[in-house]
Structures are given as C-alpha cells and as structure tokens.
Symmetry: C2
Subunit: 335 residues, 2 copies
C-alpha cells in the first residue's frame, strides 16, 4: 500500500515502466484502455510520484530558496507569505533559512541550498560584495535580492528607494517645524544602511537643515543597538541638541523608545520620533510614525519575477525601486 512505485504498478499489469510513466504523466499518447488500467491501479495503491527521483532526472527541484536575517519580523514574514502564495501556484515550494543576520550562517545555508539544487534564490543578504550568492548567479539560477543589494554586475533586486525613504522622513519632520534631526542608522557597511544615511544627508542639505555628525548614531538593526544608540544621542544632547529622531529599522525603533522612556522623557512631548517598518496593529493605541516598505507589494513582485525568470532565463539584471510609504502617527509633534 504505502509508497508504491512505477515499477510495482508495471509489474502487476505486465507493462513496462515507461508505459506506466507515460500513462500517469499524460504527456505522451497511451492506449485509452491501458491508461485506464494504470490509473485505476495507481489510485488503488495511492501511488505518489517520487519528486526526488524526478528532480534528479529533470535537473530541477521546483524549489525556491528564501534566505532572510529574521523570519520572525513581520516585514519578512509578509514577504515570505506572498512569495509562497505566488510560486506555489506553479508547483514550487519554499526552502527557508534564517541567518540571524550573520554572514557565517548565511554562507552555511547557501551551501546547503546549493547542494540541494534549488532552482532559484531570494536573498536578504548581509554580504556586501555578493560573493555568497555568486555560485547561484554564475550557475544561471535566478537570484533576487530584497533589502541589501550587493555591488556587482547584473543583479536582480526589488527594494524600496531607500534614499527617498530618508528624504520623506526628514521632509516630514521639517514640515512639522523640526530643525535639528538626529538619526540612527543600521549599518553603513551595507547598501541599505548606507543609502538611508546618504538620503538623510542629502535631505538635510536640500532642505537647508543643519548638519551635525554628532547627530548620527549607528546600530546593527537589533533592538538592543537602537537602545544603545539612542542613549548615546541623549547623553550628548547638550552638545548636539535635537528635537526629532529618525530611526531606520523596526527593532531599533523599539530600542530607541526604550531608551527614551528610561531617560524619563516622553514621545512626542520631549522628542519626536519617526521609525521604520513599524506596524500599528492596534488602531486605538499609540501610533508610531513610520516610514514603511510596501512588503506585500514587494513579496508579490518577487514572486512574479521569480516565475518569469524561472520560465525564461532571459534578461539582464534589473533593480526595481518601489516607493516607500509615510505613515504619520502620533509620535511626531509640531514645534
């Protein structure tokens, strides 16, 4: 009963394996009667094709790898959900890996995934030069970057316009009368962080706001680092005063808020704050102003691009830039 194979069915019906295979797959013509007999027996034995064997033969596993720094983040969870939704319609499944934002784990996972012959890769990398994914790209496997985009030739990526995101945040704060705006950046080593920083600087210039290197603090995207960075900014506030802060990741935003609370200050009375990727679930509660990425749209687009690339290995690399969204909450006060 359990786990019958083509061979068993063939034997029982005195047919060859190939005929049984053809009857079941229906690509090739088979006699209507034999087809019926095969199908009936397959049904009776609840035959299940072994995809592993098929993959070996076809050189395709119908599997897409998704490698992310933190699946428990809503941002990535939503993206994964949309990708799954899109590609599963065409029979693909997702192999998922959570790198905990660590390059060594990323490499280890990409290794395992390469061995497993995945057909394509979606990657939120912590690797700047794209070395970790080079094998896939050279092997002609579609690789789509979300979040960080390595500096290499012919890269496919779908991200928001990070410079614009910073600009929108700064512009909004200025429109509310803020003149001294601090920021907490995730990492200037990675493209995402670097671009947000660049966007912040450009915005200050373009909007004629005072620039001050002491108003720029760095973290590593984790909550704790947001807390530390904010604390540092606050301790130095006499030298480098500011009325608003732009925190460039969700977890760091919560960390920054922790630090503000700990310093017995309130938002937005003492400090205005705008975060990144912060979702307000409770409509009645405290709403954190935030720049947000359209994660559903990103996920859907990634899914679509994946399918298209998997069909036709065509096309040069293309970096699709999406518009960031500005959510005005109640953590920014007009001054």
């Amino acid at each position: 009963m359990a786990d019958s194979t083509l061979k068993q069915i063939a034997k029982e019906l005195s047919l060859s394996v190939s005929t049984v295979s053809r009857a079941i797959n229906g690509k090739s013509v088979v006699n209507a009667d034999t087809k019926k007999r095969v199908l009936e027996l397959a049904e009776k034995y609840s035959y299940t094709p072994n995809e592993v064997a098929r993959s070996l033969q076809k050189c395709s596993t119908e599997t897409v790898a998704v490698v992310l720094p933190d699946i428990s983040e809503n941002f990535f969870g939503t993206i994964v959900k949309e990708i799954d939704s899109a590609v599963s319609k065409e029979g693909y499944m997702l192999l998922l890996a959570d790198t905990h934002e660590r390059a060594d784990k990323e490499n280890k996972y990409l290794d395992m995934l390469y061995k497993r012959q995945v057909d394509a890769l979606v990657l939120a990398t912590v690797d700047i030069d794209g070395a970790s994914s080079a094998r896939f790209r050279n092997g002609g496997k579609p690789v789509i970057f979300i979040d960080n985009v390595p500096k290499a030739e012919n890269i496919d990526a779908i991200t928001i316009d990070n410079k614009k995101a910073s600009f929108m945040a700064v512009e909004y704060l200025k429109s509310q009368g803020h003149k001294n705006i601090a920021t907490i950046i995730g990492s200037k080593e990675e493209t995402t962080g670097a671009e947000r920083l660049e966007g912040y600087r450009d915005a200050l210039k373009k909007l004629c706001l005072s620039e001050n290197e002491d108003l720029i603090a760095f973290g590593d995207y984790k909550r704790e680092s947001g807390y530390i960075a904010m604390k540092k900014l606050l301790e130095n506030r006499e030298n480098a005063p500011f009325s608003a802060v732009f925190v460039t990741s969700e977890k760091m935003t919560y960390g920054a808020l922790d630090a503000i609370k700990e310093a017995s200050l309130s938002v937005p009375e003492d400090i205005s704050l705008i975060g990144f990727d912060v979702h307000e679930r409770y409509k009645g509660g405290h709403k954190i102003a935030s720049i947000r990425q359209p994660e559903e749209e990103i996920g859907k687009l990634v899914g679509k691009q994946l399918l298209s690339k998997l069909k036709n290995q065509n096309a040069d690399g293309e970096h699709i830039l999406l518009e960031p969204l500005l959510y005005k909450g109640d953590t920014v006060k007009a001054v």
Copy 2:
C-alpha cells in the same frame, strides 16, 4: 568549473566513481595518497555533492516540512525561527508552506510535501480528524502538531494548556472585579478553539460567575471576524451586559479593538479587554493585556523533539502541555 560530478573527477584521475565517493565521504578507508589527490581535484573543481541524488539513494532528504496557517504572524514566525535554528545544526532544512488557514490549501501542500519525501512534518493544522497528515504518520514519519491537535491515536503535539489559558484570563478578570465576562472564540470546530471555550466555561463555573450563552461570540481567527463578533456583542449589550471581554486570538483582538473604537467606547474605561498572543513591542505605549504562548519555548521543544524522533523512530505519541503566560497590560481596569 561549475557543477562537477564524481564521475568527472573519477575519470580525470582514472579512478572508479566509488573510490572517489569514498574518498570524499571519508566513511570507508581509502589510500591516503589517492584521497589527497581526489580532495585536491574536488577542491579545484569546487565539487558540490548533489543532495538530490544522495537523497534518492538514502531515502532521506534531510528536510523538515513546516505547514502553518499564517507565517506573517509573529507567533508562527518565532516558532519557525527556533525550529530552523535547532534542526539546521544537524543538517536539516525547512520546507515552508502557508495555508492561509484553508483546508484545501493544507491538503495541496501536504501532497506536494509528501511527494518531495520530507523526513518529518510540523503542522499547525486546520484539519480536525488528522486525515491530511495520516499518510505521513502511517509512513512512519515524525509529525508534530502545534496549535490544533487532531483527535486521533498516537499523536505527537506540543501546545499550551488551552483550558488553563482561558481559566487564567477569566480568573484575572474576576480578580479585578469583573462579573460579566464575554468571550470571542476562534472556532469551536477545532481543538484549540473548543478547549479555550471549554476552559472559559469551566472557569465561570468554578469561579461562580454568571454564565450566559449570549456572551459567547465566534469568529475564525481573522481580524475581520473579531471586529464582527465584537460588534455583535456590543449591539446586544443591553440584553447581555458585560464589563470585560476575553478575545482568544491576536488578530481577532485587534479586530475587537477596532469595533470598540468604532462604537466610540474606550478600553479600559468602558470595557476591559484581555487578548491572546498579543505582543507589546513598544514598552512606552498602550499595553494590551494578553494570554500568551511561550512561542520560543514551543519552537525549541519542537526542534528538539524532531531531532530525537528523526534519530530513533521510537516512542508513542506524546502531547506536551506548556504553561500559558499572563501579561497584565493596561487594558483591564478594576471595577
């Protein structure tokens, strides 16, 4: 360069494929010198074993399927992260599927996963009798249920004690002086919902609180359904008054809060509320009181159990019950 095989290496060194295989795998004894030559050439060609072929031969894919209703929920995201963390240490990877809480999708995915010969399955099912997973269990593959537990023999599951969870919520509300407590249940068809309902009823009895069927509303775990259920409760409030409500899922909690806000009522002034699986990220903000599942612990335990079951197909089914957690927020007022 790209994608060399054992055969190629064997040919170039005038060896047999088996020797090369043995040299690389190191299980069997090979002459030290030939081993060195093989390893060098493998390095040069950056040989990568084809896991698909290996899986076919070994009848094991070193892959665990994780099937969930909604990966974008923090609860499931955290669980997946922990499972990945645990099993990847032993070389396993996760195939992920998001069922959108739909039985037909669940079936489709389980089908695909079965064909792909996954070694084990972690399942948050919407299927009550366990039929969807029967193939896996009969095939001797470890299956661990989280969330809903089907009513069948010899089931492995790791969940919180749902009846106790309800009891804790009701007890807490009573301790704050509430006498008429409404509830919104996800689904009485599934074990999780049924147990939470049962726990609610038991608690009312045991704590000598008034029971009233009109104070029980049903949803389907989605936000919208929480909104509708709460609206219904509110509309009927004259007939069936209540001062507090216990909402038994995260998304329904947000929906219920939406409805309360829409009715121009406030929490906790007009209605006290305690939710389920609600996480407060912003420590300074409005904190929603909530029963919570220790999701990290669940994930870690699932990972551990998986590895143990994958090693020794021993043991009868075992339902591990964990303690729910009570987080007192500021959405419950003493009356």
